[in-house]
Amino acid sequence: MTLTAIIFAGILTYFTRMTMIALISRDMLGDKIKAVLEYVPSAVFPAIIFPGIFINDFGTFIEMNDPKIFGALVAVIVGYFSKNIIATISAGLVSYWFLIFFVFS
């Protein structure tokens, strides 16, 4: 039963991956659409970033002094100047841990 649902979910997910790659040809997308598609990373990833920072596990907004906000800011600054993915993630995590283990505890 659950397996059937997983298989359907898998097929659906595969279709989301495959549809535009396999069934759309270049000519079907005009220049204007292509120009807009340039923005896809900037238009999609904040929908993962913002809730990941500002909404907690229970689906409610965090307080404005939540350590995640600080961790994210540190990650943005370190990422902007270092251009290094590992540095960005580590800086964000370490500053977050510093706050939750030493300051807020």
């Binding site: 979910a9 495959m18 396999a22 204007k32 598609l37 900037s42 238009a43 913002f50 990941g52």
Partner: protein, 228 residues
């Protein structure tokens, strides 16, 4: 001109820093599945059949919370519908491939792989075997995801919950978009998407994850019109 092997390796190298967040997240996903009371084989089957991070957790949480299978399946479909946008961007670079190859390569398109390969594609349009970069990012992600979720299933949540490692996921995506903060138009699009995602967070079926990109792309289209 880079060889297929060089491009594949480059793809592996480009995505590997993201494993710092993907591996702990995978372990958490596997552990949560078992904790929610699902059979370990089913939890693992998801990593193979769905292969889609957060959507796997949502699926199990919905089912264990008493939602119908239909709701769970629909939510996975909606959460993962953002791949349609990735596909639309990538289709330009994968055009020359045979239909079968397109079908195969589609299975390994993931967020971080799309982001890193798209960056590489933009700078190296003339390469003949570009798609090997995407195969490199996708396969690295696939192998790490399988190993990470399996470890979580077998060993349970050996990653201490107090570490809050789920927070590594937004950080990984910050690392992806942070250089675009130099461009005002991108900043406007990002803020539009981010604020919309908070505004529509309670929309049914987790649809904020596709509603907010659509709003942000509309804003992007408006900005393009203003620029002219």
């Amino acid at each position: 001109m880079l060889s297929k092997k060089q491009l594949f390796t480059r793809g592996m190298l480009d995505i590997s820093p993201h494993m710092l967040s993907v591996i702990p997240f995978g372990i958490i996903c596997g552990a949560i599945g078992v904790e929610l009371g699902f059979h370990p084989y089913l939890v693992y089957a998801m990593s193979f059949i769905i292969f889609g991070g957060a959507s796997q957790i949502v699926f199990l949480q919905l089912l264990s919370g008493g939602a119908s299978s239909l709701v769970a399946v629909a939510s996975v479909g909606i959460i993962n519908s953002r791949h349609l946008l990735y596909g639309a961007v990538l289709s330009e670079y994968l055009e020359k491939l045979s239909f079968i190859k397109k079908l195969l390569i589609s299975y390994v398109v993931v967020d971080q792989g799309f982001a890193e390969s798209n960056k590489f594609f933009k700078k190296n349009r003339s390469e003949e075997f570009l798609h090997y970069h995407l195969i490199g990012t996708g396969c690295t992600m696939w192998v790490c995801w399988q190993i990470a979720t399996l470890s979580g299933i077998v060993l349970g949540s050996f990653v201490p919950e107090e570490l809050g490692l789920k927070f590594a996921i937004p950080l990984t995506f910050i690392a992806i978009v942070v250089q675009d903060l130099k461009k005002l138009d991108h900043v406007i699009v990002m803020i539009t998407c981010g604020l919309s995602s908070l505004l529509f967070f309670d929309a049914p079926f987790k649809s904020y994850i596709i509603i907010s990109p659509i709003i942000a792309l509309f804003v992007a289209a408006l900005l393009l019109r203003l620029k002219k």
